[in-house]
Each structure stands twice: as structure tokens, then as C-alpha cells.
């Protein structure tokens, strides 16, 4: 499981390197683009994801202690948080689509005008990185929801106990890793 997590980190690292290069070359575009993101929605999603990590850790604990009802409850709350996160992300994406702020080449915001001192045509550099990073992260959330639902079904069936909780544990590790990636994405994209 840890080997998989390591490969996931290296997978995401490519995008972080891309971010570093483009930010280094176009700092003014990144400052302007970052200013167009909704910090409160980003912060809300950060809190939701951190809370889901807590409930996931509590789910693992319940599985270890063979507490079936609690395990079902914590898994359900974790899934609800994940769905909520995607909902907020969807609201953010639809705002960006509405404003025509998309990846490079797809920007439909009025050309020839400036936003935060940067021509709209140039903002695509930031939004390409934004959609690639948050999009890949959202795919991981969707995958995580799938795994969590599978766990929930098995938990309701009573598959897990103090001697058989590895599946819950591994899913927990994956879920925390997805949270870790977001912890870096939030300040890099929304705050600085």
C-alpha cells in the first residue's frame, strides 16, 4: 500500500513541478489568477476535507475495535464530506465556466481587457494549471468515494473486525494522502 502511495506522490509531483516553472516565469499571471479564486470556498473545502480525514481515522479506529455501527456511521460521514467537497468544487468550476476563465486556448473572457492588471488571454496559463491540479485531485476524490462505498457495504454486512480491518486501514491511508495533496494545493492556488 505504501508503494502505491509513493507512486501517487510522484504522479502528482509532475504537476507541482509544472506549477513551479510557470509560476517562476509568470509570477504576475499567477498572482492575478489566484486573486480570481474564491478563498472562502477553498477554505471551506479544506475544512471539510480535514474533517473527513478525522472521520476516516475514527472509522479505522472503530474497525480495529470491532464496533460495527460506529464504523458504518463514520464511513457514511466521510462519504458525505467527500460528496460535499465535490459539490463545492462543482460550484467553483461553474463560476469559472460562467466567467469564461478556462484553460489556455479555451478562455472566453472578453479578449483585450485586463483582470487584476493581466490581459485575459494570459490568465489561461494559471487556469490550465488550476484545472489540471484540482481536476486530478477531484478524480482521486471520486475514486475514493467508490472505495468508501464498497467499504460501507462490507461494513454493513459485518465483514470487519479487530482481526480483519486491513481494507479499512488501507483506504484510510489513501484518503489521508488525497487530503495531503489538497493541503498543498489550497495555499499554492488560492492564497499566494
Amino acid at each position: 500500500m505504501w508503494l502505491f502511495l509513493v507512486s501517487e506522490i510522484l504522479f502528482f509531483s509532475g504537476l507541482f513541478v509544472a506549477y513551479a516553472i510557470y509560476r517562476n516565469r509568470h509570477i504576475e499571471v499567477f498572482t492575478a489568477g489566484s486573486g480570481l479564486l474564491d478563498v472562502s470556498l477553498g477554505a471551506l473545502n479544506t475544512v471539510v476535507l480535514l474533517f473527513s480525514s478525522l472521520t476516516m481515522a475514527l472509522a479505522v479506529r472503530s474497525a480495529q475495535l470491532s464496533q460495527r455501527r460506529r464504523l458504518v456511521m463514520w464511513l457514511s460521514i466521510t462519504i458525505a464530506c467527500a460528496v460535499f467537497f465535490l459539490g463545492v468544487k462543482g460550484v467553483e468550476y461553474s463560476h469559472k465556466v460562467h466567467d469564461g476563465l478556462l484553460w489556455q486556448g479555451a478562455i472566453t473572457a472578453e479578449p483585450g481587457t485586463e483582470i487584476n492588471g493581466v490581459p485575459t488571454e494570459k490568465l489561461g496559463t494559471f487556469f490550465s494549471i488550476y484545472f489540471a491540479m484540482t481536476g486530478l485531485h477531484a478524480l482521486h476524490i471520486i475514486g475514493g468515494i467508490g472505495v468508501l462505498i464498497w467499504l460501507l457495504v462490507r461494513a454493513i454486512r459485518g465483514d470487519f473486525s479487530g482481526t480483519n480491518f486491513a481494507a479499512v486501514d488501507f483506504a484510510g491511508l489513501y484518503w489521508h494522502l488525497v487530503d495531503l495533496v489538497w493541503i498543498y494545493l489550497f495555499p499554492l492556488l488560492y492564497l499566494i
Binding site: 505504501w2 509513493v6 477554505a43 478525522l54 495531503l180 498543498y184 489550497f186 495555499p187 499566494i192
Partner: protein
Amino acid sequence: MTNASTHGDTHVHVVPVRTLIGVFGTLIALTAVTVAAAELSLGDWDVAVAMAIATIKASLIALIFMHLKYDNAFHGLMLLFAVVFVALFLALTLLDEERDSGQTGDAAVVELSTN
């Protein structure tokens, strides 16, 4: 990670609820700090401060939520190697960027020192 019945040398470590909630509270507090710090506009230090706080949060999650603190040290070593490689990728890329652009590049130095 594994349980006592399959590996005699490891044991199931059940993390107390109080510890888990304490970690969550700290993570939320650090999120507030990082948002507040970003509004201060620290110039080149923005990136450094944000990444330092993110790394503290990441360490808390890795050590407690991902129970590396109680786990086989080899798992922690694997994660550390992955992080070292990411730092290496970023460092080499940014060094190259500096040479190409010939800028004074404080921003790159800051990123190097924090990743």
C-alpha cells in the same frame, strides 16, 4: 497496518479519540493561520510561510492519521524518500530555470529552501 495475528513483531495500535480530535483541531487552527498569513502579503516569504505551514499539517496527518508514528519505520522511510524526490525534482527544475532566465530569483531560492 498489519495485525498481531499475522506479524508477531507488530501490534495493532488504536489511536485514542482525544488524540485524533486534537490533531483535527490543530489542523483547523493551522488552516486559519495560513489564510491569515497570506493576507499579510509577505512578498517572497508568502510561499515559504505557506509551504512551511502546509508541511507541518502534512506531518501531523502522516504521523497520527496515517499512524506512521506507531508503524513500521520502513513505511515512514518510503514516504520520506518520495518527499525527498519531489524536493529534488523541484530543486533541479528551479535551478535550471534560474540559469535560463538569469534573474536574481529570490522566489526560487525560497521554494528550494522549503520543499
